[in-house]
């Protein structure tokens, strides 16, 4: 019989790794952090997927915002980002994002990134929603792929140990300080890593919703890991719903349909053939901001003017076929694969959960509220406020990835052992999954529907309470691990429940509509800039919403 006490694990963990910096997550932020940290000491990069294949970075199509031209300016980029974020952003973080984004772009260029350029050898830029200047740099419609490929080429040339297809299941604590992480390898074998500093770069988690643009790794594990380690999270209710996700076929629901479709002249029509945006934003029409368009589409569907697949039509068939072929090749290819020729017939679209603006509270150096733990990328909060601008996420990964990696690299050496107390209840948790009785999918499917219905685009106290109750009841069910290789899935299920709970509690705490967060049961008189509320915050030691002074 196995005795899963701390001492047993300590003696039987398959491998023990010791390093200076442990980076968790190999997307844009994690890879950038690891590159930076490796200049200071032994760096381990752990990834649930193969390095660079996880996360949303390789899927990002649009671009990377950077102030590169004389006609543009940092104050303009700052103003756009704050306005887009409904003035919930942490101004210090926005300032850094804007100031350092061009420098990080220069890093990528030096490392061989193949961005589109102009005839005069400048990085090409295009306009994106909510911005006063066309400052979005791009590599065709595979910008994230290009950034990831560049970072992976660099990882291969550095002395960085990569633990691939290895799932971090818990951060280890020594006193109040994070001292590494416990992980499961591909076979479910436990592996302990001690580190002087740990960087959390696990990306987003909108897979807790029924319909999401995220990859399979977008389960929000980092939010849960950080929360359990005692970190404070802010603004978890701020979930961006992208207006245009696929609705058909069933298994492609949520797949992102890029904003460029509307940028190129795509029209939104309801089932009655009405170009309905004139009732929501007559000035900007289809090119309004993401939150407005998402709400408009959702309203049309809710009020019975949706298509047979419960979407609205997004039509480019009035554009010349060569324009579609040249400007929207990936969209054309993807829809053709599903039997729809967008040159001749409209797409059907509906909103899809896209990005979590909230996350671990960080300082400008990427330090979380827990010593020894840093965070960057989508798992960190505060940069994007209540609504993220397209093109700011990729910039975020590079700017704050570099900062978190550098801060972790500069962290002081710690004693070279993992205290037995740190291993705590890990063994008991795994044993519980082995004795579990519920197939993980049963919990996940119920959770996703409950979140979509109760904590989606429109929220009320009642709908949020219902969702919260479902989450609480699901937490009492124990997912089953049929073999050790299924243990990681069970940990993820619990993490998803944790993240869902954080979103719901944040949404209940914020009694106002702001950016992506819409409370239909609350009416407020103020504009976002005058809101008396700051961040919502949640940690194991308490929760609340910050009050703030606003100029009259």
């Amino acid at each position: 019989m196995y005795l899963y006490n701390a001492r047993y694990i300590k003696m039987h963990a398959d491998v023990e790794v010791d390093c200076h910096v442990l980076v968790i997550g190999s997307g844009g932020a994690g890879a950038r952090a690891a590159l930076e940290a490796s200049q200071y000491g032994k760096t381990v990069l752990v990834s649930r997927t193969l390095t660079g294949k996880g996360g949303c970075t390789p899927m990002a199509e649009g671009g990377y915002n950077a102030v590169l031209r004389n006609a543009d300016s940092c104050p303009m980029h700052v103003a756009d980002t704050l306005r887009g974020g409904a003035y919930l952003n942490d101004p210090a973080l926005v300032d850094i994002l804007v100031r350092e984004s061009p420098e990080r772009m220069a890093d990528l260029i030096r490392w061989g990134a193949v961005f589109d350029v102009t005839d005069s050898r400048e990085i090409a830029q295009r306009p994106f929603g909510g911005q006063q200047f066309p400052r979005t740099c791009y590599a065709g419609d595979r910008t994230g792929h290009e950034i990831m490929a560049t970072l992976v080429e660099q990882l291969r040339s550095r002395d960085i140990e990569q633990l691939q297809e290895t799932t971090v299941i818990e951060l280890l604590l020594d006193g109040g300080r994070v001292c590494g992480a416990a992980m499961l390898d591909r076979n479910g074998g436990l592996l302990l890593c001690r580190a002087d500093a740990t960087v959390l770069a696990t990306g987003g988690g909108t897979r807790v919703y029924d319909i999401s643009t995220n990859c399979a790794a977008g389960t929000g594990d980092g939010f849960a890991l950080g929360y359990r380690a005692g970190a404070e999270l802010i603004d978890m209710e701020m979930v961006q719903f992208h207006p245009t996700g696929a609705v058909y076929p069933y298994n492609a629901r949520g797949r992102l349909i890029t904003e460029a479709v509307r940028g190129e002249g795509g029209l939104l029509l309801n089932a009655e053939g009405e170009r309905f945006m004139h009732r929501y934003d007559p000035e900007r029409m289809e090119l309004s901001t993401r939150d407005v368009v998402a709400r408009a589409i959702a309203t049309e569907i809710l009020e019975g003017r949706g298509t047979p697949h419960n979407g609205v039509y997004l039509d480019v068939s009035h554009l010349p076929a060569p324009t579609i072929e040249e400007r929207l090749p990936i969209m054309l290819e993807q829809f053709l694969a599903f039997g729809v020729d967008i040159r001749k017939e409209p797409m059907e679209v509906a909103p899809t959960a896209h990005h979590i603006m909230g996350g671990l509270r960080i300082t400008p150096s990427g330090q979380t509220t827990v010593p020894g733990l840093f965070a960057c990328g989508e798992v960190a909060g505060g940069v994007h406020g209540a609504n993220r601008l397209g093109g700011n996420a990729l910039a975020d990964t590079q700017v704050f990835g570099k900062r978190a990696g550098e801060s972790a690299g500069r962290a002081a050496k710690q004693s070279g052992a993992i205290p037995i107390s740190a291993i705590g209840a890990i063994g008991a948790r795994l044993e519980r999954f082995r004795a579990g009785s519920v197939p993980p999918i049963a919990i996940i499917e119920t959770l996703r529907r409950a979140m979509w219905d109760g904590a989606g685009i429109f929220r009320t106290e009642a709908s949020l309470t219902t969702a919260g109750e479902t989450v609480a009841s699901l937490k009492t069910r124990t997912p089953q691990a049929r073999t050790d290789r299924n243990l990681a899935e069970c940990c993820t299920v619990e993490n998803m429940l944790e993240v869902a709970g954080l979103i719901v509690r944040g949404a209940l705490l914020r009694r106002e509509s702001r950016g992506a967060h819409v409370r239909k049961d609350v009416r407020t008189a103020w504009e976002p800039a005058q809101s008396p509320y700051g961040h919502t915050f949640q940690s194991r030691s308490g929760e609340g919403i910050e009050q703030r002074e606003v100029a009259a």
Binding site: G112, R121, A216, Y250, I441
Partner: protein, 494 residues
Amino acid sequence: MKEGDMVGITAKVSRFNPETDKEPHFETYTVSVHDGARVLHVLHAIHDRLDPTLAYRFCCEAGQCGSCAMRVNGEPVLACMEEATDGMTVEPLRLPVIRDLLVEVEGVLARLAPFEAGEEPEIPSKEEIEAIKPLRDCIECLSCVSECPAVDVASFLGPTGMRQEMRIALDPRAKHDRIKKAIDEGLFTCTTCQRCRDVCPKKIAIPGRAIEKLREIANREGLTLPRHQAVARLIEETGRSVDRTKATFLEQVPEVVEPDGPVRGEVGFFVGCMYNGRVPETALDMIEVMKRNGIRLIIPHDQVCCGSPLIRTGQTAILPELKKRNIEAFARKGVTTVMTMCAGCGSTLKNDYDTPFTVKDITEVLTEYGIEPPARLDVRATYHDPCHLLRGQGISGQPRELLKTAVREFVEMPSRCCGAGGGVRSGLPDEAAALGKQRDDEIKKTGADIVVTACPFCEFHIRENTDRPVKHICTLLLEGYREKDRKRNRPAKG
């Protein structure tokens, strides 16, 4: 959300547990999935509802991360993009299997060339960016590596390894010339069979865009294999890549060959070095077939090597001269269609030339005109797809159609490079022989009496590696005609 109609899908999935199994085996599962489900969704359904031990890799589910490459009905695909079909088989890529559909990829990925950056950020020109871009679409799924015949028998990092080397070679920001490293990684082992391009989910033409271009760089730096250099010298001196050891085809035929009966058509004939100098008998057989079927042949005697051996091995300096001579030779005769019977020449004329005439393979010409049916020979035959015909020209149906009219029984074998192409036969004969041997194994499995093909390189090379007779399709047709004549001339019994 309205849910799509559910459909039942039965799939045969390859399972392998390294702790208990010696060999992978198939398990059959039936699951209910939504209409339009992809292969990946079927695997999810099996994993979630029937057997959570099924191991497979996936992530973005949108065709952009390259995690879920696997073989469906034998062909590498991305499981997240390929529509599931009832009765499909799902197997891992042909790479070392870790478990079920999980294959070992980290070793290869770690060896892909890193980018060694210079100090100053320097923005490349638009032209430089445009040149690199097509090589940058790679999502490192390793489908190409898994299907590459050279990887199988030689020390070769694989197609995407060469793609990465070329990407760096094209980038003005890269610090070092890595051509010697590319050679160490197996640059010369590629037979240019194009299988990698066919299985690439992003359709990157690695042989043309990377391997042949890297070989050109190697050539400029004096690193071309000595045997390839000898071929280039021969072409430069004689206009031919094959030594004259006997009377050539062109020495034996007039410039115009009239058919026996009425003229149904006319084509120019591009003979190529192999049929001219090494196996002229096959080309002479072809003449008989054309005469019998009413097709006039125009055969300019001043035609020369098409240049394929130079392109494949990166020695392109005299290529423009060869192209000019060949185009002029046929243009002067006023032909509108030029026929090839060498798959390599045909692929080169079609893909690397800009010709004022149409180029067609002989199997296209014969099926378009339609031929007199030959007598069926009392043999079981299999067909070897020449790479430069199947992938270079997209021709697979026509030779089979012709072949089936001439034999008692036709049996397929899996198509794969025989090892003769890309300069490998001359440059790395051991590798070529190893691939030839694999062909022999497949031939044996079919139980065929004869092997039919449509390329002189394949014909010559496979003949060296099997004990079964190897014939060009024309030779087979001619034998069928002779058999027919024999039967007709034999007095009827009774």
